[in-house]
Amino acid sequence: MIVKIEEKGAAILIEVKEERLDAHNSGDLKTQMLNLFEEGKNNLVVDLQEVRFVDSSGLGALVSGFKNASARNGNLKLCGLQPQVKSMFELTRLHRVFEIFPGSQEALASF
């Protein structure tokens, strides 16, 4: 999976550079997030701007990141959701769990 990870002040910005986040590559995203948690980086913004398709495994990876961040007194926030991706969060009620921002600037500024 191609991701771009950058420190942006109080939080880490993870840009997912894939068209799909599914059962084939969501494990990689989970591993990348776990590496950050191990380094003590517990405030994450996941930018899904380039992701056109997400399945239940992709959602599961983000839930895993959210739970890990919360357990370490951090947070995982999302931004850049395309309409069909957003509809998946609504279908599974996860839009009530995550803080979701239009763009990365707004998400990063919220920390």
Binding site: D55, V63, Q84
Partner: protein
């Protein structure tokens, strides 16, 4: 004019083929001129249910064994869409799983809920050498 389509696909039991099969489903939805609903939404939903059903078959029923095979048929006959996913495993009956508890924030269990939400009828049955998951949706 009839608008009947049937495709029959076999791929190795590997998740890297999820995208290929999902896209075939999407493209099929886009060809349905007589479908009166939102074709782009239907395309996304077909991609999704194919991806979810195949991932279950690959990882659970077929135990992630790359030597096994996944067989999928997608048919649109008389405005009824039917997707069948055949596995070669001991079985993973998604129909027997409970609905997810949305408050528990479990990492797993949403795939089956998604399939059930988007399709009209879902059945799982035993057959020679494995099982078949059938998902049906009316396109009227």
């Amino acid at each position: 004019m009839k608008e009947n389509i049937e495709v029959d696909i076999r791929v190795p039991n590997q998740t890297r083929y999820l995208s290929l099969i999902g896209k075939i489903g999407e493209d099929m939805a886009r060809t349905l001129r007589r479908f009166k609903g939102d074709r782009e939404e239907l395309a996304y939903h077909l991609n999704l249910v194919l991806t979810e059903a195949m991932a279950n078959a690959i990882l659970h029923a077929n135990e992630d064994d790359p030597e096994r095979e996944i067989h999928i048929t997608i048919s649109i006959l008389d405005e009824q869409l039917s997707i069948k996913v055949f596995d070669q495993g001991q079985g993973f009956d998604i129909c027997s799983l409970p609905s997810p508890d949305f408050k528990s924030l479990d990492e797993h269990g949403r795939g089956v809920y998604i399939i059930r939400s988007l399709m009209d009828r879902v059945t799982y049955r035993k057959m020679d050498g494995g099982h078949v998951l059938e998902m049906v949706k009316s396109l009227r």
